[in-house]
């Protein structure tokens, strides 16, 4: 029992999982049917799964993918990339402009995705070079693309919001015929498995943490901090392109102003809620992904409670503050101290009772 509690207090996943659990329980009490999944037929005649659970998983997939890249950047560079949403708008614009100049077939689709990947990796590398080589704080370095990124997307689109429509696009943004699970969820899972394999089979995860914990030590041990940081930015670039393309496929057009608006804040929040220190060092990718689902679950819950969409932010902020207060080291220490005090006092009381 004692070792279990110790393990729980040490694991960074405890609080995020507990928060998710509380949200689920609250929703079940409020409405027992909340998480029921129904089988329906959509407009294209496919059998699909619908329900709040599916919409939570589906809606969070873009932010979850972005948060994977953000976790690596946070861990190695001790800072956050606030330009992810703007770069995703650029990647989405490139994706659409390639698709619109060709007939949409599977090879063209892959080519377009590859193009947007290359472009977003290049923009990410621009951030990476500023951070890794010029040693600029990540938040400030990425402020450049944060303010200029959406304008570059505007310029690529020529000031319009071009649309793309094709059965292929709807099958990526919605459902593949014959598979009842939304495609973004499948892409998210595949992406997570790929990243897990990369981190498990190579030393990248370990090296990233080492660079984040102590750059000097990493350097002395033969790990190049510059390359590790650049790798984090490259992976983040791929994440950004994927998230951008999924979102474009889902809505069927590219709007540089509103594509993934404010997503960078949600992404950073999900990294923090997942128990990762924003000051770098140890990280857990699953924590960040869970964080993304917590935020989406919270949003869906608030919508279900008929909170107006503009006011959702205020309630979200309160929940976020409660979660981060409970996961703050000071509060954790205090709780553990109180717990120990209570447990130590009990035997003393018993001894006194016996003596009396």
């Amino acid at each position: 029992m004692g070792s279990l509690i110790k393990k729980l207090t040490r694991s960074q996943l405890t609080i995020p999982l507990f928060a998710l659990f509380l949200l689920v329980v609250y929703n079940l009490i409020r409405d027992p049917e909340f998480f029921s999944i129904a089988i329906a037929t959509n407009n294209d005649g496919n059998t699909v799964l619908t329900g709040n659970l599916i919409s939570i998983l589906n809606g969070a997939s873009a932010v979850a993918i972005l948060s994977i890249g953000m976790t690596l950047i946070t861990s190695s560079c001790k800072g956050q990339d606030i330009s992810v949403a703007a770069v995703a708008a650029i990647a989405g614009s490139v994706f659409v402009s390639v698709l619109r100049s060709n007939e949409i077939t599977i090879p063209v689709l892959l080519l377009a995705f590859l193009f947007s990947c290359v472009v977003s990796v290049l923009f990410s590398l621009f951030n990476g070079v500023l951070v890794a080589i010029f040693k600029i704080q990540p938040m400030i370095a990425t402020l450049i693309l944060f303010s200029a990124g959406r304008s570059i997307a505007y310029w690529i689109n020529g000031g319009a919001t071009p649309t793309v429509s094709s059965p292929l696009i709807t099958s990526i943004g919605g459902f593949i015929p014959g598979i009842p699970i939304p495609t973004p969820i499948i892409i998210m899972v595949v992406f997570l498995i790929l990243i897990t394999l990369v981190l498990r089979l190579t030393n990248l995860g370990l090296y990233t943490q080492v660079v984040g914990i102590n750059e000097g030590t990493a350097h002395l041990n033969g790990i190049s901090p510059v390359w590790i940081k650049l790798t984090a930015f490259i992976i983040s670039g791929v994440c950004v392109a994927t998230a951008g393309c999924i979102t474009v496929c889902r809505i069927g057009l590219i709007n540089h102003e509103t594509l993934l608006l404010d997503a960078e804040m949600d992404v950073i929040l999900s990294v923090a809620i997942g128990g990762n220190a924003l000051s770098g060092g140890k990280f857990n990718i699953y924590g960040s992904v869970i964080g993304a689902y917590i935020i989406q679950a919270l949003t869906v819950t608030l919508y279900a409670m008929k909170v107006p969409s503009a006011a959702v932010k205020a309630y979200k902020a309160i929940v976020i503050i409660v979660i981060v207060v409970f996961s703050s080291p000071v509060v954790k220490d205090f709780v553990i101290r109180m717990y120990k005090k209570l447990f130590k006092k009990q035997p003393e009381d018993e001894v006194q009772a016996k003596a009396a």
Binding site: F134, S147, I268, L269, A272, V312, V325
Partner: protein
């Protein structure tokens, strides 16, 4: 090797020229860039740039930004960050308008309300960041979400103030003697500034004094430079950080009221991205996010540079909004790289590359 005391008495007699500090160097660069930029704009484009009113409009339109950025400077010097400024501004404008219109409020009451909202956010951020040691980015992000959400809870529709006493205050203009321009009809129109500008300038001077001559200000630099050393020197690190957030919160409240004095309307879209512009002003002004370096005068000139470049872009015929944000990005990039290179060169002491006054102090070398 001389003992410290000998070195001290020796230096007392000669008093060698102090090498310029990082803070002052970065600030000087910003001020020179701004003046140079404005001079070039006056020579090349003339017209509006020669008009003193256009120069003063830089202040009139952005007084609230100066006030928010001043609070942010203090936080950034202490090594933190605050991205809630825009949200608090919007909340203050909306709350004050609704209070004045629907609840029969007075001007004094609305000022108190603005200060109260600022104080609330300052207290919240201060306690969470300083005493519970939560990352400032997340705390102030939550603060921003809360403020932006509360605006729509207070009122979803945009509101305009029609309170008489408030409008009198809003329309108050201060004429600058001796400055002005000749209108199309040849009548001399004196240049005017709004009340908010006076408040902003007072805030800038007050914060500059706090940073330079008070114990709290000096502590801020110590905490931001190295919080462990500050702690071992007996500085109350937590309290210093707490006061920084508290003051910044109050300044956000004042900034919100100044915004209201400028536009007279409460709207959920008020001051969007003001927090990022405030951060950009600070960076251009030479305040480092790593803490310990910065100056509020630099922040003022950073804001002026940021807005002047936008004016120049418009004057040169690139009126599409996306040119403005791209040039803002380029300008940020230029300043960030410049600062990074200068600081790196100074740290490594590549003396051959620098003129004498830029070199790091020789005192440090003697002692080591």
């Amino acid at each position: 090797m001389k003992k410290g005391k000998d070195l001290f008495t020796e230096n007392l007699g000669k008093k060698p020229r102090e090498p310029i500090s990082n803070t002052n160097l970065l600030m000087t660069i910003t001020i020179c860039t701004f003046i140079g930029m404005y001079m070039i704009a006056m020579l090349v484009w003339g017209g509006g740039f020669l008009n003193p009113q256009q120069f003063l409009d830089l202040f009139n339109n952005n007084a609230f930004l100066v006030i928010i950025a001043c609070g942010l400077t203090m936080i950034m010097i202490s090594g933190g960050i605050d991205i809630s400024g825009g949200g608090v501004t919007a909340l203050v404008t909306m709350a004050c308008v609704v209070y004045l219109e629907d609840h029969g409020g007075t001007v004094a009451g609305s000022i108190l309300l603005a200060l109260g909202i600022g104080l609330f956010f300052g207290l919240l951020h201060g306690i969470l960041v300083a005493y519970l040691e939560i990352q400032p980015f997340i705390v102030t992000l939550a603060g921003m979400f809360f403020a932006r959400g509360m605006v729509t809870i207070v009122s979803i529709a945009p509101r305009t103030a029609s309170h008489e006493a408030f409008l009198n205050l809003k329309q108050m203009r201060i004429t600058i003697p001796g400055l002005g321009y000749y209108g199309k009809t040849g009548i001399f129109i004196p240049a005017q500034i709004e009340l908010g500008v006076v408040i902003a300038l007072i805030v800038v001077i007050a914060v500059a004094i706090i940073l330079k001559w008070t114990r709290f200000g000096r502590n801020l630099y110590a905490v931001g430079g190295n919080s462990h050393s500050a702690l071992t020197l007996g500085i109350n690190v937590k309290r210093t950080k707490f006061y920084a957030y508290l003051l910044a919160g109050i300044l956000s409240g004042i900034g919100g009221y100044v915004y209201l004095l400028h536009t007279g309307a409460g709207d959920a879209a008020n001051a969007t991205q003001a927090e990022m512009q405030a951060i950009a002003s600070n960076i251009i002004g030479g305040t480092l996010l790593t803490g310990g370096v910065g100056n509020v005068i630099g922040t003022l000139f950073g804001m002026l540079s940021l807005k002047t470049i936008t004016n120049i872009v418009i004057a040169s015929g690139l009126t599409k909004p996306y040119y403005q944000s791209i040039t803002t990005g380029l300008m940020l990039c230029f300043f960030i790289l410049l600062q990074s290179v200068i600081l790196a060169v100074r740290e490594k002491g590549a003396i051959g590359l620098l003129p004498e006054w830029l070199r790091p102090g020789k005192k440090d070398k003697n002692q080591s």
